[in-house]
């Protein structure tokens, strides 16, 4: 399986493989004694687990059991919600992601996220995929062009949109929008992609596997992905 280049800027080593020891795989992300409270209500209770590198990890559980909350801890998305307290640690590339030295924006670039409902920006298809690169300060049009094409091909969307990259992304169908946000996430070549029921709007399982083939990474999935073998 061919591996696209990673960012290259962060060659930090991963921390051991104790938690993923059962499977004997290298872990990319390690959760230790993680608890999370929304105000007084505890949503996550003392979680310990490791996420293997370059493998798909799926979380399965009943609705409201905290799958999304746990996922959102990985890229510190819960920071955006008032009144959340988190204890315990999540180690990624040798650091606790809650460490003050960690740049949240940088962390989120390395850990991409695909949301449950497609949330394209009200911009053109091209600009949606290029958004993350532009945020990183990429100015070269050639590089952006190339990366946009690569990401859209990886998400199996290129053939459908290559003639209308300048059209608004909001004109795409639900399934196309979902693939667009996947393309948007992988355009940054993250180390890890977390996906919160990303295939709820996709019409078929093989489609999602198609994305995987292009870009296999540690890919935790919640129940929406159960249908995929």
């Amino acid at each position: 399986m061919s591996q696209p280049d990673t960012q290259g800027s962060s060659p930090a080593p991963t921390t051991g493989s104790e938690s993923g020891a059962d499977t004997g795989l290298e872990t990319s992300l390690e959760v230790n004694n993680l608890s999370l409270h929304y105000g007084d209500k505890q949503a996550l209770i003392d979680i310990n687990l490791g996420i293997a590198t370059k493998k798909v990890t799926a979380f399965i559980g009943p609705s409201g059991c905290g799958k999304s909350t746990l996922l959102r801890c990985f890229n510190r998305m819960n920071d955006l919600i008032d009144d959340v307290t988190i204890t315990g640690s999540i180690n990624f590339q040798g650091y606790d992601i809650h460490d003050t030295r960690v740049d949240v924006a940088d962390l989120r670039r390395k850990i991409g996220m695909v949301f449950q409902r497609p949330n394209p920006f009200p911009k053109s298809i091209y600009e949606n995929v290029a958004y993350g690169l532009r945020i990183q300060g990429e100015k070269s049009k050639a590089i952006i062009d190339e990366r946009v094409e690569w990401a859209l091909k990886s998400a199996a969307l290129w053939d459908e949109v290559k003639d209308r990259l300048k059209d608004s992304a909001l004109g795409l169908s639900g399934g196309q929008q979902q693939r667009l946000v996947i393309a948007r996430a992988i355009a940054l070549k993250p180390e890890l992609i977390i996906a919160d029921e990303p295939t709820s709007a996709l019409e078929s399982g093989p489609m999602f596997r198609n994305c995987q083939n292009y870009y296999a990474r540690t890919l935790p999935l919640t129940p929406g992905a159960q249908k995929n073998p």
């Binding site: 998305m77 955006l80 991409g112 949301f115 009200p122 958004y131 909001l170």
Partner: protein, 562 residues
């Protein structure tokens, strides 16, 4: 009985009465708005039509038979009782009549045969004709003159007065020449002379500034006086040219005969336009109508604002509203973004939000008083102390002016912009913000690249409401910069081109001034309607521009807010 009872009950239960009531309320509102617009449109626009001039023969209250040229203005009815009470002639009252018809006739010729508007009772009119040769002269001063032109004495050949069939053509030529010279004069006064004056004033201020600082820079002082001397010489040359033009203007003279056979001499230099409405075809009248309308829109006011155009008021209103929008939009948006995106939603933010909403309800005159006290006297006064000490005690910014009026109105309308921007920000789904943050964008990047563009239709809605409110506001402006007659426009050709410190005219205040402060009520009334119509058109125009823009943005971001 029981049957009809149950019918009504089921009719009420069906909800239909409420629908009817809604329809009635909507219909009433629409007809009220249309009624207002129609009234001001008809009354305002009719004023510019070159209506026929009648020769009316009638009996006055002193039982004299009189002839007069005049334009019919309106028909009015008075009750007999009222007529008798005000000392009317009882013989005029028809037996069994309860009301009497009278006409308001515009007879012009102010200063010759007063008054220029007359009430004439219909029963007393013995003859009414429309002679072809009667002419309307629009004069620079004293309003219209009505009469039959008899001779034109030209300065070129005073011994051979022109009369007869060639008179009208010669007169039109003479008027055109006079208008041409008048244009040259205003070019000279507004251009070269104004420029020289401004430079002289700047030199004077620089000199005074140097003296105030007790500067030893004698070289510069000498330079200044040398420059002043050159400018004074230039001024003298232009002034001589100006005097020549004035002499040239003041040459031709027209003699007209009024209906009661009085001959009046009118200097052609005093005539702006002349026309013979009774001899004009419908097409010619239409042409004259649009020319009158255009002159109303493009000329300066004359005669204590009761004659001439309203151009400075249009200009002032638009400029003030644009400046206000430029000030209010960033302030309102920044405040709303802070309240909604950055501030911790707590008691304090709630209090601020309530205060902002209440601010929108403060009477506008209070803002005017605040603007005068804080902006004009405090801010402006201190600016003068700091930057313009050489022109003191004459204030530069420490007096009501354009910038203070715009600021005051911006303050008045900022709550509207804050509220609607906040609403726009609230409507943006969290998923879009999270999508941006998840790609490694900071909060500020998300704000500028995603949130603000998406909120722009809501921001524009706020600006539209602000413009609508600001353009119609009069009370606070009277305190902070609007005057009934501004000698110069706030934008002209001399540095710094946009003069924020100048006083300006405003259509709303113009309506008030013409309608209620003018000495000549009848002459002013149609102008009040016309100006009101113009103000409404202007506000609608400004709003339509913003609404079109908003529509375009909404199409761009449609489908997100769901």
């Amino acid at each position: 009985m029981a049957k009809s009872n149950s019918f009504f009950r089921s009719w009420f239960a069906s909800g239909e009465p409420w629908i009817w009531m809604n329809a009635a309320a909507v219909g009433l509102s629409i007809s009220a708005v249309v009624g207002i617009l129609l009234l001001i449109a008809v009354k305002g626009l009719a004023h510019f039509w070159p209506s026929d001039v009648d020769l009316i023969t009638y009996t006055t209250e002193t039982a004299q038979v009189q002839q007069v040229y005049g334009e019919f203005v309106e028909l009015d009815q008075v009750s007999v009782e009222q007529f008798l009470e005000s000392g009317g002639n009882p013989e005029w009252v028809q037996p069994n009549a309860e009301i009497m018809d009278r006409w308001l006739v515009k007879t012009g010729n102010r200063r010759i045969s007063a008054p220029d508007f007359r009430w004439i009772f219909v029963d007393q009119i013995s003859a009414r004709t429309t002679p072809d040769d009667v002419m309307v002269l629009e004069r620079i001063e004293w309003g219209n003159a009505y009469g039959v032109p008899t001779t034109l004495v030209t300065g070129a050949d005073p011994s051979a007065p022109i009369s007869g069939p060639t008179l009208v053509a010669a007169l039109n030529q003479s008027i055109a020449a006079a208008n041409d010279i008048r244009d040259q004069i205003s070019d000279l006064e507004g251009g070269i002379l104004n420029n020289i004056n401004n430079r002289l004033e700047r030199l004077r201020l620089e000199e005074r500034g140097l003296l105030l600082k007790e500067s030893e820079d004698t070289e510069r002082l000498q330079e200044i006086s040398a420059e002043q001397a050159t400018l004074a010489a230039e001024y003298a040359v232009s002034e001589r040219k100006l005097r020549g033009l004035y002499r040239e203007l003041d040459q031709d003279e027209l003699v007209i005969t009024t209906a009661d056979d009085i001959e009046i001499n009118v200097r052609v230099a005093d005539i702006l336009h002349a026309w013979q409405p009774n001899a004009m075809s419908g097409l010619q009248k239409t042409g004259q109508y649009f020319s009158n309308l255009w002159r109303f829109l493009s000329e300066d006011p004359r005669e204590a604002n009761t004659e001439g155009g309203v151009f400075p008021a249009i200009f002032g209103t638009v400029l003030m509203v644009l400046l206000m929008s430029l000030i209010v939009t960033p302030f309102g948006v920044i405040a709303a973004v802070y309240l909604r995106e950055y501030a911790k939603q707590g008691v304090l933010v709630r209090i601020i939000r309530i205060a902002v909403n209440n601010l929108a309800g403060v009477p506008s005159i209070v803002y005017g008083v605040f603007g005068l006290g804080f902006f004009v006297y405090f801010l402006g006064g201190n600016l003068d102390q700091l930057f313009f000490p050489e022109s003191l005690p004459a204030p530069t910014f420490g007096t009501p002016g354009l910038v203070w009026a715009s600021l005051t109105l911006a303050l008045l309308t900022v709550p509207v912009v804050i509220v609607s921007t906040e609403e726009g920000l609230t409507r943006i789904p969290r998923s879009v913000r999270e999508g941006s943050m998840a790609l490694g964008a900071t909060q500020a990047e998300t704000l500028f690249k995603v949130i603000l563009p998406m909120a722009s239709p809501a921001i524009l809605t706020g600006v539209i409401l602000a413009v609508a409110r600001a353009a119609g506001e009069v009370a606070p402006l009277m305190l902070v910069g609007v005057v009934k007659l501004a000698p110069t426009l706030p934008i002209d050709g001399s540095f710094p081109y946009l003069h924020l410190d100048r006083k300006f005219m405003h259509l709303g205040f113009h309506i008030y001034d013409v309608g209620f402060q003018s000495p000549n009520v009848e002459a002013a009334r149609p102008l009040v309607y016309a100006t009101a119509l113009l103000l409404v058109t202007l506000i609608v125009g400004l709003n339509l521009t913003a609404i079109t823009l908003r529509g375009r943005l909404e199409r761009l971001y449609r489908g997100v807010e769901s």
